[in-house]
């Protein structure tokens, strides 16, 4: 092989051509802005609502002043609305399973007696947490209500009980969804999902399109190097990725008031890393795919496990072991944690590193595959 060096001028001519073509491609342009806006509106508004008056059933085997004020306290918070009273736990379980109520409050028969004896009895609040955003706020309110009831009722002879540790405990059971995603999970999570979808798809299509239309043959017959073609074609998509990141960040901040405590620079760096990972996947898929349709199918094949196993759709810790292992391979899993870590926790380099190296490793490995299948000729 005679050496032929990478030429910036030729590379730049590919970039310019790609930009020209992109500018004429209205649908793709609309997708660049449209996908983030539509997705964020669809997914995002689900998190901002703060559902109240959630149907609640009470299984009260004990009727006393204290249990009554407990129930009244829940009712007054406006999160809970007692819609029915049930005889036993089996009936409560049925009501939850049928979705008739969101919560079941279970007060045991000897609650008041044990409370006065100072035995710290428990009330059980069971929640149907299939949709954690529906129950999250109500559940966090429950402990405040608990405190309120104590302050109000434990006066006079019972004041001693109010002083130290809480005289009874409220056990929360989130059924069906053990982790309970925080409400800020979705908007940051969307960033990775949108970047994956648009970047893998668009680079895959951009390269297979040249092959499908026969223009690749023309390119390969000129002095331009395949490496110049590949990298020249993806540069515009890196810019597109950064634009999308910005759109999502602005939407998160202004539309959804997601707190942003970390560094903006760190977020862009993380986004660049993730964009690089997605682009290498796109290039690899495009060298495996023969035409645009195949590239599209392969993108979907890659996209689905990313959505399902990365902790975006389902809480990561709630997944079985094998799924967690699979999920940890995917860059989206780590990018989700990076974005949440930076935006919500203000994490720095040390805390971020455990999720940075897996993306780096993934990118390097996939790039190896891409180079392996990388076609210099038409063979």
């Amino acid at each position: 092989m005679s050496r032929e060096w990478f030429s910036l001028a030729r590379w730049w001519s590919i970039v310019l051509k790609e930009v020209l073509q992109l500018r004429r491609d209205r649908i793709t342009l609309a997708m660049i802005v449209g996908i983030p806006l539509v997705q964020i509106s669809l997914f995002g508004f689900a998190i901002n609502n703060d559902p109240r008056h959630l149907p609640t059933a009470v299984i009260a085997a004990d009727h006393s002043e204290i249990t009554r004020s407990l129930i009244a306290g829940l009712q007054n918070s406006s999160y809970f609305e007692v819609t029915e009273t049930l005889p036993d736990e089996a009936a409560g379980a049925r009501a939850l399973a049928q979705g008739r109520v969101q919560f079941v409050l279970n007060i045991p028969a000897d609650f008041t007696v044990r409370l006065i004896r100072g035995e710290r009895p428990a009330v059980l609040l069971e929640a149907d947490a299939t949709d954690p955003s529906a129950t999250g706020n109500a559940l966090s309110a429950a402990s405040g209500i608990l405190q309120g009831v104590i302050d109000k009722d434990f006066k006079g002879p019972l004041a001693a009980l109010a002083g130290g540790a809480a005289p009874f405990e409220m056990r929360l059971h989130r059924l069906y969804n053990p982790e309970g995603i925080t409400q800020y999970n979705i908007v940051p999570g969307l960033m990775g999902v949108i970047l994956t979808l648009t970047l893998v798809l668009m680079t895959g299509l951009a390269i297979t399109r040249e092959r499908e239309r026969g223009t690749m043959e023309n390119l390969l017959a000129t002095p331009v190097l395949p490496l110049e073609v590949m990298t020249g074609k993806i540069l515009p998509y890196i810019v597109i990725g950064l634009i999308q990141t910005t759109i999502i960040m602005l939407a998160a901040h202004f539309m959804f008031r997601v707190p942003f405590v970390g560094s903006v620079l760190a977020l862009y760096l993380a986004a660049l890393l993730f964009i690089a990972a997605s682009l290498t996947v796109g290039i690899t898929l495009s060298s495996l795919a023969g035409n645009q349709l195949q590239a599209m199918q392969m993108t979907m094949f890659y996209f689905l496990p990313n959505i399902l196993l990365s902790g975006f759709m389902f809480p990561f810790r709630g997944m079985p072991q094998w799924a967690q292992v699979l999920g940890s391979v995917l860059p989206l899993t780590h990018f989700n944690r990076l974005v949440r870590g930076i935006m919500l926790k203000g994490n720095g380099w040390v805390e971020l590193w455990p999720d940075v190296w897996p993306i780096l490793l993934f990118t390097v490995l996939v790039m190896g595959v891409a180079l392996r299948f990388y076609r210099r000729t038409l063979d």
């Binding site: 005679s2 051509k17 239309r213 026969g214 043959e217 390119l219 017959a221 002095p223 000729t377």
Partner: protein
């Protein structure tokens, strides 16, 4: 390096799967020569051309283009070769000027603007430079492709059916241009299915089933098959043709309008033909390229089988 032939390939072979598509093809094109590459559909012309400019790696054989090794020095070859693909392969969503400009950038032409302007002027497309290429008619696309592959003033042109779908007057202009280029020392390998174009080439090669059957100047190609040809006039040509095909010694019968061309390896067949019932007139004519090519095409299969173990 300068003295080297424009194309000199030996025993080039290519297989796709277990199908041998190009089978030990050797051909030489001298500088300043227009070399016609003929053969039926699927005979391996495009595949051979792709191997010559480094787009496909040969499975066997070796060769040089403009003195550069086709396996190891593809980069140098690409710089000095203009390759026009059989299928239109410019960007339909770019305008005519943008396409030319892009190609000029890829070759890093020093006076890009001027080169593009001149090409547009020569094409007669200066006024439509901003039109999207996808909206051009087929023949105009073909002419644009040709202009684009000559933009960097290559030393060797590899043209894969450049005039398919181009109207006769544009075709004539095109061939005049090719001859002007050849006179300046530029070499051309051009594949075509048109006989009139074949006749305008300095040299010809005929390929069938991946095998090069003949190559040389037109007269040499004709002479190589040692055919004698007669023109027959008579009644009921369809029946006559069928009868002729069964006549021993007749190699081929082709209908040419109101007459038949009969070819044979036996120069004395004329006496047999004259006395056939229904034949009115027989005259000896020179065997033409078309007679030879049709003969080659129909007998290539037989040769191929005989050649196989």
């Amino acid at each position: 390096m300068k003295a080297a032939a424009a194309i000199d390939v030996r025993e080039l072979s290519k297989r796709f799967g277990d199908k041998l598509v190009v089978d030990r093809v050797s051909l030489q094109v001298q500088r300043g020569e227009i070399f016609g590459f003929l053969g039926p559909n699927g005979s391996g012309k495009t595949t051979s051309i792709r191997m010559m400019c480094g787009l496909l790696t040969p499975d066997g054989g070796e060769g040089h283009c403009l003195g550069y090794d086709i396996r190891r020095e593809a980069a140098q070859i690409k710089r000095q070769v203009g390759y026009m693909t059989q299928r239109f392969s410019y960007w339909e969503d770019l305008s005519i000027r943008e396409n030319l400009d892009f190609v000029a950038r890829l070759y890093q032409l020093p006076r890009r603007r001027e080169a593009v302007d001149r090409a547009l002027e020569d094409l007669g497309l200066a006024s439509r430079a901003r039109q999207l290429t996808g909206t051009l008619s087929g023949g105009w696309k073909q002419r644009l492709a040709l202009a684009a592959c000559m933009l960097h003033e290559p030393q060797l042109l590899l043209l894969d059916e450049p005039t398919a779908g181009v109207d006769p007057s544009a075709r004539r202009d095109f061939w005049e241009e090719l001859h002007r280029l050849a006179a300046r020392g530029i070499s051309v390998l051009v594949s075509t299915h048109y006989m009139d174009e074949a006749e305008r080439c300095h040299k010809l090669a005929y390929i069938a089933y991946g095998r090069l059957l003949v190559q040389g100047r037109g007269e040499e190609v004709i002479a190589s098959q040692k055919l004698s040809t007669w023109r027959l006039e008579g009644e009921d040509l369809v029946n006559l043709a069928q009868r002729l095909e069964r006549t021993p010694g007749v190699a081929q019968v082709i209908a040419f309008g109101a007459a038949l061309h009969v070819s044979s390896h036996d120069a004395g067949l004329m006496d047999t033909l004259r006395v056939l019932p229904g034949v009115r007139r027989v005259e000896t004519i020179a065997t033409g390229l078309e007679d030879v090519f049709v003969y080659l095409m129909s007998h290539a299969d037989d040769n191929f089988r005989q050649g196989a173990p």
